[in-house]
Symmetry: C2
Subunit: 342 residues, 2 copies
DNA sequence: CTGAAAAATGGTAGCGCTACCATCTTGACG
DNA sequence: CGTCAAGATGGTAGCGCTACCATTTTTCAG
């Protein structure tokens, strides 16, 4: 006698169970679930009833294996705690939570090698789309993205050579706008404070430099950077260093808002008047910039919107639509506040 | 003549390809990859060579289907942008990046219903472990967690009734310690400023209340809360409201550091002396608390460590070890700073 | 009413891997 | 030198689903 070995799976209902209960073929159930319009009204109702009664939930692993496509968006960001990327991820997440797609997150730690490793891990899963931060992938990463066989969206930056699609803004222009604003406001010895100095920071620095050179104000001693990750604490230290190096400093463009906040606190502590003695500009425009005392001028970037747009573009591509534009520039806005109101 | 239909998969090498090339059975390759110690040195080398040459990468979907277990950690947090959870996720991520496990992130938006929905989505995938924030799951969520058939770690809080395991600290005790510190420092009309008021905030409030009542200082007019999500901007508003409601206010325990920062900025703006006129205590101890001017007393919580420990416990459980303790209290530390140094 | 096209449904054969059990090799031991 | 346990390897049969094609039913022009 053949003993029907207990199902390995653990007894949760399968497509076949639903099909049996509804009195139809398994494939019809599959279709009713994925392309309801191709199944007659009658059967659809019958199948839905069976699904509800059994509490059937499709097995995503089996589905992925059979269709050679997982309902997963792979998302690669350089940092999870940096508010900037957290906002992008939130935008991605909110746009995806309505649909069937799951999100698999990868943290590259700002490392090209780690990015490659993660792409190697994501690839075999055959994700429905990949969203990666930045445009400075290594050659190997780029190759992995190109042969991923799914839509790819590079976010946070724009450039002329997308792997597939891009949503972001120009960090160069952002840095330039910030420096130009300080120059217009009457500041002359304007420093640049930068932490981590990833490629985006580098381009903001380049924008700053372009503006300063155009005004005949550039001086390498005004630039203070460190590869150390950014923090408010570091902002204070960078500001101190900058002031020690260039005592006539009268303004700072900070690589990001954390550093700007650290600089502001140091000014308070050292009784340096802001904006009178020193003007401060941040980057990203976190909510606290508005509330700070004095409020801090910053370059607002549209992180959440970038996440949303990236998903919209990826979904359109999955649906087979050709994008109107492969590269979308969401721009930035300079928010003028008290810290530069001289 | 039978025409060998092209492989659906798209031609990437499979286990069978590796087995053929190495001249061994498929199952041996599978073993060599998963339990190398059970395969002889010779074959292992031979197989590794074939793997390298073909660039073989196992298909995680097929693996998950065959073994009824996906190498995925499901992580559910109420917010992606709240730095507190971002740190926990980072801890989880860093502990997992060495191994084969992928991370699938879910954002519950502080909603019990959304949490249920996400558990429904995660369940059929048969994750290797689930990590969820908080201990206030709905009955349905709790049931889903119990029958998930994998280790479950509830993080950020502790309680007496874990689904499986817990890592966190007592928010009640944290709130109590903060209030007691203000009382000891000589403040009397100590307000509570709270945003969002999720269950953890509620328990911090309860701790504050217990300390205030013990000292005979509790007054409901001192408590200012809102269901609105927390932000620095909101901190300023809450502080203003609190002061309007209780003009004799001489201290505030803020639900979190964003609010504390907003309160501090409002004090600057209104020329209220800190710590002389008003004492301020935050919660979580983000890096900026130390740098603020004046530096802000806060309750340091070990978010990153919570993430790491949660993973360690889950991995141990997967390996079949019985945990020494099902509930791990990682505590907190009150960091005394200038904002309460009266 | 007929025939052909379109719509609805189903059967078969995998997707790439692992669980389970069977077989074959070793080598320790009396 | 035979016996047997332990170790190494392999074959078979799925996991639960979908792609592909075949079949049946319906629709509608002529």
């Amino acid at each position: 006698m053949i003993k029907p070995r207990p199902r390995r799976g653990g007894g949760r209902p399968t497509l076949a169970d639903v099909a049996r209960k509804a009195g139809v073929g398994a494939i019809t159930v599959s279709r009713a679930l994925r392309e309801p319009e191709r199944v007659s009204e009658d059967l659809r109702r019958q199948i839905q009833a069976a699904v509800d009664e059994l509490g059937y939930l499709p097995d995503p692993n089996a589905r992925a294996l059979a269709s050679a496509r997982a309902e997963v968006f792979g998302v690669l960001v350089p940092s999870l705690t940096n508010n900037v990327f957290a906002e992008v991820v939130r935008g991605i997440y909110d746009s995806l939570s309505a649909g069937p797609f799951r999100i698999q997150l990868g943290n590259t730690h700002y490392s090209g090698l780690e990015e490659e490793r993660l792409l190697q891990v994501f690839g075999p899963q055959r994700p429905a789309a990949l969203i990666v931060a930045g445009i400075d992938q290594t050659a190997a990463s780029r190759h992995l993205l190109e042969k991923a066989g799914c839509p790819v969206v590079q976010v946070m930056e724009i450039g002329s050579d997308p792997v597939d699609m891009m949503v972001g803004f120009s960090h160069f222009e952002g840095g330039k706008a910030a420096a130009e604003h300080l120059i217009e406001a009457g500041y002359r010895r304007i420093g640049f404070l930068g932490a981590r100095m990833d490629p985006r920071s580098q381009r903001r620095l380049a924008g700053y430099r372009a503006a300063m050179e155009a005004a005949g104000l550039f001086d390498p001693r005004l630039v203070t950077t460190t590869p150390v990750p950014s923090s408010v604490t570091l902002g204070r230290e960078l500001f101190r260093d900058a002031l020690a190096k260039a005592p006539t400093l009268d303004g700072v463009f900070c690589n990001n808002d954390d550093i700007a906040l650290g600089a502001l606190f140091e000014c308070h502590r050292a009784s340096i008047a802001v904006p009178k003695t020193i003007g401060i500009v941040g980057f990203n425009d976190l909510d606290m910039m508005e509330v700070a005392f004095p409020s801090i001028t910053s370059v607002r970037t549209h992180r959440y919107e970038i996440g949303r747009r990236a998903v919209a573009m990826a979904l359109a591509a999955i649906a087979g639509e050709r994008p109107a534009e492969r590269v979308v520039d969401l721009g930035f806005e300079l928010r003028r506040r008290e810290s530069t109101a001289r």
